[in-house]
Symmetry: C2
Subunit: 313 residues, 2 copies
């Protein structure tokens, strides 16, 4: 069952000692560009540089002692790997991460730095899932899903709970959509604790599976994602999609050039480092700014992990 | 006469409606690297992306009506130009900025964007000063000095007043040294409102005029500055230097590789954009970390204006 309001509140309490309450920043320039008042909830300042730390920590917090003794495992080439590695380290449990051999060195190093064990595999989803299955079978550890998991969804939802605590009169929240863990948690939090807030998903044209699913009412998988927004190449799962269907108002798609342009504006004007996926919601607002003119908008900056040697500018 | 405690308090009140109270951020990673607890006062988030906005606004606020009617002028290829342009715009007065022809396009565009008038000149200090003199003679406008001016010094000092308000038990403050406007204001504020705080200057080896002056007690000018820290190529003036001599504890010099390394750490770990000059103080702390081990340190991040197309990584 999807998390209740009570469960979200309990999640926020459980997480408080382990995750940062991230700052909310704004910029006159970016307000003027958008014709709206925009509040950026900066999860790029979260531990491990992304909101994933919330969900990973919460999933590990909910394990029982027998599960903790055997550790956790996941497959990820990105932010979830680092989040699981650090969260496991915090609780002194073993983390086994399946990563594609071609994952960026900086991400491998971060995962190793948090003390997790990496198993490398071929860079395909099938190889990743098979390798994870083998590890789970061999060690009896608990597999953690990066988004299709109610404890993870509840964890990510605390981002919006914090935002609403600080700014209760937000009228709309823009949020990137990949596998849907962040936006489903955000939409539940907005529904339970907000006042008629519309939750707007933002997605690249090159990975618009959530938009297709949302429009047709049928969950579509992303076959060949083609976008710089590497966090948004995954597809909603059977737990996240129904929440999106019920609580998200709309999904706006943006072009790659719009993503890079928005990312650059945020870097240059706000002086913060955001990854391409995190710039997608602001790109979506710029694209549809006439419809949101004058509104008070929350913008979820999902993360800030980029390879400084491979910038798109 | 150098600003008094009362003058600094009055300055903070005057400036409050026009400048941001910038956030103070910290990072577990950067604390661990330094072996100290470091609080970064983020003037990269200040209006125009640098602390210069404080001094420029204050200098303009102190003009009388006759002076305001004739406008202001300055020469600068960097952050002071933008600050004067925006501050003048706020008060509806004319700003004339002398810029070297080879100044970065992005900086010219920013100055023009704030409505100031640019006069281009050859890229030498002599040409800049002569062009400014001509403009002042022709239009009767008031020349504003970027640092060797007590109103500017008092304005920059409000950075440290804000920091101490938030964190009264800071033990040392690290601050970059260029012309000395920031550090002399910072040192006065620490002296008046802190409790035995040592103020540490940080400077590149390639532009160590302040260090030389500090050591010899005689003001030395920088002849051929050679550093990526473009904000620190200038030399202390006859108003800033005596304050530095009296209230600054020491000046630490750092290599170019240390500046770039510190800048990269701040970008990657804190997810904020800082310009090379702003990374110099953290580089200085890393260089001398044994001496500051376990201390509570304020670190002035002076600005975040970089050309994203010309990064040193």
């Amino acid at each position: 069952m999807k998390p209740t309001a009570g469960e979200l509140k309990a999640t926020a309490q459980r997480l408080a000692p382990y995750v940062y309450k991230t700052p909310v920043l704004s910029s006159r320039w970016l307000n003027e560009m958008a014709g709206a008042t925009v509040f950026f909830k900066c999860e790029n300042f979260q531990r491990t540089g992304a909101f994933k730390m919330r969900g990973a920590t919460h999933a590990i917090l909910k394990l029982n002692d027998a599960q903790k003794a055997k550790g956790v495992a996941t497959h990820s080439s990105g932010n979830f790997a680092q989040a699981v590695a650090l969260a496991a380290k915090i609780f002194g449990i073993k983390a086994r991460i399946v990563m594609p051999r071609n994952a960026p060195e900086v991400k491998k190093a971060a995962v190793l730095g948090y003390g997790a064990e990496i198993t490398y595999c071929a860079p395909t989803l099938v190889a990743r899932e098979l390798t994870l299955e083998k590890i789970v079978a061999e060690f009896g550890c608990t597999p953690l899903h990066p988004y299709n998991d109610y404890d993870v969804i509840a964890g990510q939802g605390t981002t919006v709970m914090e935002l609403l605590e600080e700014l209760p009169d937000i009228e709309a929240i823009f949020c990137p959509v990949g596998g849907g863990g962040l936006i489903s948690g955000a939409a539940l939090a907005a529904h339970y604790f907000g006042h008629g807030i519309s939750v707007v998903g933002a997605e690249p044209f090159g990975a618009d599976d959530a938009w297709q699913s949302f429009c047709t009412g049928k969950r579509v998988s992303q076959l060949n994602p083609n976008t710089i927004a590497d966090g948004l190449r995954t597809s909603p799962g059977d737990k996240t999609f129904p929440i999106i269907q019920q609580y998200v108002s709309e999904i706006i798609r943006v072009r790659e050039s719009e993503i890079i342009g928005a990312m650059r504006l945020i870097w240059e004007r706000m002086k913060i480092i955001v990854e391409p996926s995190a710039a997608v919601p602001y790109a979506a607002l710029l694209r549809e700014k006439e419809r949101f003119s004058g509104k008070k908008i929350g913008m979820i900056i999902s993360g800030g992990n980029v390879d400084l040697k491979k910038l798109p500018f």
